[in-house]
Structure formats: structure tokens, C-alpha cells
Symmetry: C2
Subunit: 302 residues, 2 copies
């Protein structure tokens, strides 16, 4: 098998028969109380170590029931870092457990810096001996090409991937990203899309996709269609499905004509599906059902 | 004393008589071998835990000799995260030690995300019970206003500060930041400067500065002069002095007419000054001398 990240991702999506990415975004107050009670009860308060242990057990429970259904999980770094080094320990253990379960792990940390500092982030998440040990990472390119190169170089060396923020799913994303630049007569997010396409040119896989992907929110389907044209070789990571309001029809423009080239994320809608069912003991069943439903929903438009 | 961050920063700069920020960017290969040997020798390799212990001892040594000279230290998060949860433990201990030494701690993590996720970063670094416990944080505003609001709200509540990336010091910073936007006839970094000024309007201190600052590289003095005009109420965090090529004359445009309103960072030039002197046992003396030299250099133009 090719060691190129896009090829690995393509194979995993094909094998599982769906492009779903499950977001592992734990919030302590939404974790079933029978799990919380095991750890938090020890000293009656939400110490970082107790929260971290709770996150690990909850995430393992989710991973156990989604591993045969989906190709990718995406832990959101912020929810772990919120609890400092203990939280990062939970992040590490979650990534390792997911990889052992055969899942591709995409770290959502929106990392960004310059030169040797960007190199340090790249080594931390994507290095051969990386303690955080992920397969791919989201990055923010406000700093330009030399803030991205250390990441893409390591991708090439280690068969890893990056997803560059292009058009994000939030209401204010247009503040900067929709500005029209003078010379090029295109928006900043379109300009960024051209950068992404060029940064990936040297890392093409046999799948026709490169290891440099793009983050394109499900909440902006019109922009997504145009971005799909500008970036024919970039995998799209699509947040905004479900809880943020995007539906299957909204994510369709993110895919290529064969229904490939995109990965659709859902976090709360899957991992906290038990809240809707009001059955905390069955949080795993609820998560699995939510994945099955999402799979059908996406299949209806692809 | 006012609990507003800009007021605290202004008072600290006045007390120390210099606007120097010491960057705590540890690289294991540049730490004096007599410190490395204590920890790394235990098992002969660079395990994350051993590197973390080395970083803590080295940083404490630097903090001990700069605490009476400078107002601020700035640990760069990437160099710690490189070593996972153990590295983040070193970050936590470094921040706590610096605060106990009376220093203002500025975490350089260039954090960015949306809504509740940005909130999690904000609570992790700037929360009242934050395990990472810092006084201020660098943030990246590619995602627009709703990616910044969770940070500024917490700043107001807890007397903390943020520094938004405006014009960064790296060679490729112009890829995006120098693009001219159509409607406004201004560059993206100038547009960002207007955002910064407006985001800070609600958090003004008695000093005339707000708790929403800006990152403006020393390597672009012409742009800095214009940015100083656009952001009369924003503190500038100025990287790029020293190792990256910026001199005292280059940072002068970042200051206001009274020589206030900016913080100039130096990392390698101070913490690894011992390499130039070839005296590792005296790394603390070398660091102190480098600070004294920088203080004179900056005073010559202010």
C-alpha cells in the first residue's frame, strides 16, 4: 500500500464505505454520569487528572463502537488542553487507542507558527517518534508559505497529512476570508485555495489527491463548489455538518464527481447522541446509531 | 492597582525600566550539557519526561537571573508540545515559576478556533483555574470575530490579555498579510489592525491601552509605523529582534511618541547567549549580560 496520506485515506474511506470523521470533542458535563462518577468521585472535584481519566474511558467507549464503521476520528485539541498536561495525556492515549483500532487520527489543533517553531509543532504531532502520534493535523496559514513548509515536508517524509484552513464554518468566517483581493479579483479563501493546491503539488498520491488538504465548512455550500474547482487535488475536511446546521445537500459540493475527495466531520451529533435518547448507559449504542444514520444521509447525495 | 492587563503591563515595564520580553524557547540540543546530563543520563535517551525535567531546570535558571530585569517572559508553546504531555508539564511549571518570580507570563500558542472550542483554549490558558496559568496569549484571527470573542471576554473577566497576529516577522508573511483588499484599499494586515483596535475598544485601561494587543514583526519597520497609527490603543508584541535580524532602529516605529506601547521579544539571543561565550557553566551570566545589552540598545532609540 502507498504510504502517501491521501492514498491511505482513500483506501480507508473505500473500506468503510463512508467518508465520516467522528469528532472526539469531550466536554466533562456531557459525559454520562456513570463514567464521571468513577473518576471524579475520588476527590469530589474536577481535577485535571480525574477529568483526563474520564475523557480516556469515554473516548475508548466511542472508539470501540465506531472503529468498524468509520475511517477517521478527529480529536479537537482544545478540549484536552483545557486541562493542561493531564488533558494532553488524555489526548495522547486517545490517539494511540484509535490508531490501534485501525483508525486514521486527525488532530484538530489549527497549528501555526514560523520556521523552527512550526517544525516543533510538526514533530510533536506528525513526527516518527511523536508523543502525540497522529496521522494528520489541521493548520492555519495566516503566516504564509514558510509557516506551512515544515509541516508539508514532514508529511512527505512520514506519510502524514495536513488540512489547511480555507473557508471555515463559523458565522464570522467572512470577516477576513471573504475579502476580495485587489490584484487577483478573488476572495482570500479562494487565494488560500490556490496556495493549498500548489503546496500539495509535490505530494500527490496514486489516488489523484495530495497529502495537503483543505478545511471547508459545510455551512457555505456555494463557496465549496467554487473551492472544489480550484482545488481538484485537495481532500476537503468538512466541519459544520449536524450540530452547526449543515445537511447532506450542503456537503455534496465538497465532493468530486465520483463522490470522493472529502471527509465529513460530526462531533456532538455522534458522541453525545445519548442526550437525545436520554439513555446514558446506552451512549455507545446511541453513537453507533447516529453514525449509521449519518452514513445513510450522506449516501443519499453521493 | 488596576486589574486591566494593559495597565499591569504598563506598570511592570515602568518598574523594570525596559520593555523586554524574554522568550523561553528551549531546544534540548542547546541546553548546557551539565544540565542535560543530570536528566538525560538516567536512561541514556531523550525521553519526553527527561527532556521536560531538563527544560524546567534550564528555564528556572533563566528566570532566576532575568526576573529583576525584565517585565515579561514568553514561553513558546510549540517547543514544549513537541514532547507531548510531559512537555506541557514543563510549560505549566515554567509559567508557575515565572509568575511566582513576579513576571508577567505571555503564552505564545497562536491559538485559534470557533465558539465553544475557542472558549476551551481561553479557559486553558487564561481561566481563573487554568492549569497552564498565563497572563496573556497570542491568537490568530483568520477565523474572524467570533473566533476572538471568547478570548477577549475572558480577558475582561480575569484581567488577562491577548495579542492578535497582525504582521508577522517571517519572510513569507506577505503571502496573505500584504494582499490589498478591494473595497477598503488597504492590506490584510491593516484590515486586521482595524479589527484589533475595535475588539479592544471595550477593554481600555487607565494607561490608554487596551488588553487586546497586536503582534507586529521587527523585520517590517515601515509597516509598523503605519500600524502604530491604525492601532493607537494596542500594545505591540514585537518578535524578530536579534536572531531574526531586527535592530533597535527597526523596533522604534512600534512604540508611541513617549516610548511606550510595545514589548520587544528576544529568545535565542538571550537564553542561548552562552553559546557565543562558549561558557556553558555561566549560561546565567551570559543571559543576564545579553539582557543588559539589549536594554541599552533599546534605550538608545526610545
Amino acid at each position: 500500500m502507498s504510504s502517501n496520506f491521501a492514498d491511505r485515506l482513500t483506501a480507508a474511506i473505500k473500506q468503510k464505505g463512508t467518508p465520516i470523521c467522528v469528532g472526539l470533542d469531550p466536554r466533562i458535563e456531557q459525559i454520562p454520569s456513570f463514567i464521571r462518577d468513577v473518576y471524579l468521585a475520588k476527590d469530589g472535584e474536577e481535577t485535571p487528572a480525574a477529568v483526563a481519566d474520564t475523557f480516556i474511558e469515554f473516548n475508548k467507549g466511542i472508539i470501540d463502537v465506531v472503529a468498524d464503521l468509520v475511517p477517521v476520528v478527529k480529536p479537537q485539541f482544545a478540549f484536552y488542553l483545557r486541562y493542561g498536561s493531564q488533558g494532553v495525556r488524555a489526548f495522547e492515549e486517545t490517539c494511540a487507542y484509535a490508531q490501534q483500532a485501525g483508525l486514521i487520527v486527525l488532530a484538530d489543533a489549527k497549528s501555526n507558527d514560523i520556521g523552527s517553531t512550526a517544525q516543533a509543532y510538526a514533530e510533536g504531532f506528525l513526527g516518527a517518534d511523536a508523543p502525540l502520534s497522529c496521522d494528520a493535523l489541521t493548520v492555519n496559514a495566516y503566516l504564509g508559505a514558510d509557516g506551512i513548509k515544515p509541516f508539508t515536508e514532514l508529511c512527505k517524509k512520514n506519510g502524514k497529512g495536513v488540512f489547511v484552513l480555507v473557508k471555515t464554518s463559523n458565522p464570522s468566517s467572512g470577516d477576513l476570508q471573504d475579502r476580495i483581493t485587489d490584484g487577483e479579483k478573488m476572495s482570500i479563501h479562494e487565494l488560500m485555495a490556490h496556495f493549498v493546491e500548489s503546496w500539495g503539488a509535490d505530494e500527490m498520491g496514486e489516488s489523484g489527491y495530495s497529502s495537503v488538504g483543505a478545511v471547508v465548512g459545510a455551512t457555505y455550500p456555494q463557496e465549496a463548489a467554487r473551492l472544489r474547482e480550484i482545488m481538484p487535488h485537495a481532500y476537503f475536511l468538512v466541519p459544520g455538518y449536524g450540530a452547526q446546521g449543515g445537511g447532506a445537500a450542503d456537503v455534496k459540493p465538497c465532493f468530486d464527481s465520483q463522490g470522493g475527495g472529502a471527509l465529513v466531520n460530526s462531533s456532538r451529533g455522534i458522541i453525545f447522541a445519548w442526550e437525545k435518547d436520554c439513555k446514558e448507559r446506552n451512549y455507545q449504542d446511541s453513537a453507533r446509531e447516529a453514525v449509521e444514520e449519518m452514513k445513510k444521509d450522506l449516501a443519499s447525495v453521493l
